[in-house]
């Protein structure tokens, strides 16, 4: 058996290991992580075993050598949004506070599978945002330029260039003719569960305790400092506490007496029956909130806008289903005959400006990571990277310096869409 340097007694996955295990009846595989009992006390506790919590734990151990860490997850690892999203990875933001952060994230994505020795099925198939008017083209040209200034790749495609790549779009739709698109070739998709599992395995092998079925129900404070958390498995002490509870951020922050600039709203996603290779990129519609890609199994993966009301239900309403299907047929008329297999919902932490928060809080030793809206999957590596830095050093990471909690009261919102303080419009 081969082990990975720096990762303790963890089995190295490779083509050879699959072959070898196959020959011995696949009886030699071992669990990818332990199931430890919680200790009495940790240096750092992270609430939430989604992508961000797990990545944070991994980088705490790897970048900062802090391994006396627990991730507390109320369900099973990856049961939240990290396992519910539509897996799009991109770095095509306009604003200065955002783009360098997402650019770093994309670079981490590019080396992630080798680093974690885990197949996250990272596929840089390109992301195309369609435009349908002169005004939209100008806005995309500006965004593309901003991306390039931040060192990212961006290409403004004309109508015929898009047609070559995605011939089946409704180019001559009388209301929303396709004029072209903004392409980021390095963007694409990654298998969402694979990312969670890869980080989980990497963190566990470095000594992090991943504790599932452990709901945090209270935050214990003494003299203004956090000393630990009440959980469904008893009290667990810590020096520092990091919250990475995504859609439930408001609920856990409330345990420390905080109200957040966040509303929890439901976002739905859909997958169709498997069809032959059809759509090679991720394509987003510019005339409505809608996007589509194709999974390796052949299913079309697509989604649209929020249901537009507060919800913790992890399921949405039929009116939104209908409008998403309408957008699908408007962008790609031929999909009208494809059958939808499954639909589901996730609870999004919609912030008041559409951008995330990675910061200290007014409570000593309590740190906050939230406000990812519906774009937090692509942020997973950089979010973990920056949140680990904050938890380890107490200082904000350079790349996350705009993601401050007090930016709302100071008037430094990072509002990509320019919608103002209406959480569900971002």
């Amino acid at each position: 058996m081969r082990y990975i340097r720096g990762m303790g007694r963890v089995m190295k996955y490779s083509a050879f290991s699959i072959f070898k295990q196959g020959l011995s009846g696949n009886k030699g595989w071992r669990p990818a992580w332990r199931e430890p009992e919680p200790k009495k006390h940790y240096d750092v506790i992270i609430v939430g075993g989604g992508g961000h919590g797990l990545a944070t734990a991994y980088y705490l151990a790897k970048n900062h050598g802090i391994t006396n860490v627990a991730v507390l997850e109320k369900g099973y690892l990856g049961s939240g949004n990290v396992g519910r999203n539509t897996t799009i990875v991109r770095a095509n933001y306009l604003l200065e506070g955002n783009e360098p952060f997402y650019s770093h994230s994309l670079k981490l994505w590019e080396g992630l599978e080798q680093e974690l020795n885990f197949n996250a099925m990272m596929s840089q198939r390109g992301v195309i945002n369609l435009y349908h008017s002169d005004g939209q083209r100008d806005a995309f040209a500006r965004r593309g330029n901003a991306m390039r200034l931040a060192g990212e790749d961006a290409e403004l495609l004309g109508r015929e260039q898009v047609r070559e790549l995605v011939p089946f779009l409704d180019f001559d739709n009388p209301r929303f003719p396709v004029h072209g698109g903004l392409m980021q070739r390095r963007g694409g998709t990654a298998r969402h569960d694979g990312v969670a599992w890869g980080y989980a395995r990497g963190a566990d092998s470095r000594g992090v305790d991943l504790i599932q079925n452990c709901e945090v129900t209270g935050i214990r404070r003494e003299g203004g400092r956090v000393v630990g958390v009440e959980t469904s498995r008893g009290f667990i002490g810590c020096n520092r506490l990091g919250l990475a509870a995504a859609g439930n951020s408001g609920r856990v922050a409330e345990m420390a007496g905080m109200r957040l600039p966040v509303e929890s709203q439901v976002l739905q996603a859909f997958v169709s029956e498997g069809i032959k290779p059809f759509i090679d990129q991720v394509v987003t519609f510019g005339a409505a909130l809608f996007y589509m890609s194709q999974s390796d199994k052949g299913g079309l993966v697509f989604g649209g806008s929020l249901d537009l009301y507060n919800s913790y239900a992890q399921r949405g309403n039929l009116a939104t289903v209908e409008s998403v299907m309408e957008a699908a047929c408007a962008m790609v008329p031929s999909v009208s005959r494809v059958k939808v297999l499954r639909a589901w919902g996730g609870v999004m932490d919609m912030s008041m400006d559409g951008s995330p928060i990675i910061d200290r809080t007014p409570v000593d030793d309590l740190y906050l990571n939230c406000g990812w809206c519906y774009g937090g999957f692509k942020a997973t590596p950089a979010s973990g990277w920056c949140f680990a830095h904050l938890l380890a050093t107490g200082e904000t990471h350079e790349l996350a310096k705009a993601f401050r909690l007090d930016r709302f009261s100071r008037g430094y919102q990072i509002d990509e869409t320019g919608h103002g303080a209406q959480a569900n419009l971002h």
């Binding site: 609920r251 109200r259 509303e263 537009l308 913790y312 309403n317 009116a319 709302f408 009261s409 959480a423």
Partner: protein, 114 residues
């Protein structure tokens, strides 16, 4: 969510006729109120998990603004009243004006359990 909503003016109507604006909890502070009160009103939310009061508009009907009491965990709709009546009723309650940034009554009362 319930597919039928009882508008106090129009009676039982399909949910799709209504537009949901959001939390009816935050109360607009007086123009000269402290900055912190305005910040809280514009940005901070209770983000209730459980029974919450919301502003809805019957945009496909009488176009009146309504206050709908709805559970954000199981989507059940409990009550619908006209927003003007709701505002009058809440203004009549003592203590309402003094603490504009505080959570609405319904919000703290109905917090979900599960």
């Amino acid at each position: 969510m319930a597919s039928l909503i009882t508008c106090p003016h129009c009676g039982v109507r399909p949910k799709e006729e209504f537009t949901i604006r959001g939390d009816a909890g935050p109360v607009r502070p007086a123009p000269e109120a402290k900055f912190a009160a305005w910040d809280a009103y514009v940005h901070l939310r209770d983000n209730v998990r459980g029974v919450m009061k919301e502003h809805w508009q019957h945009s496909g009907g009488c176009r009146r603004w309504l206050v709908v009491e709805r559970d954000t965990f199981n989507h059940a709709v409990h009550s619908v009243v006209d927003a003007a009546e709701f505002a009058q009723a809440s203004a009549a309650k003592p203590g309402r004006k003094a603490a504009p940034a505080k959570p609405a009554k319904a919000a703290s009362k109905g917090r979900g359990k599960a």
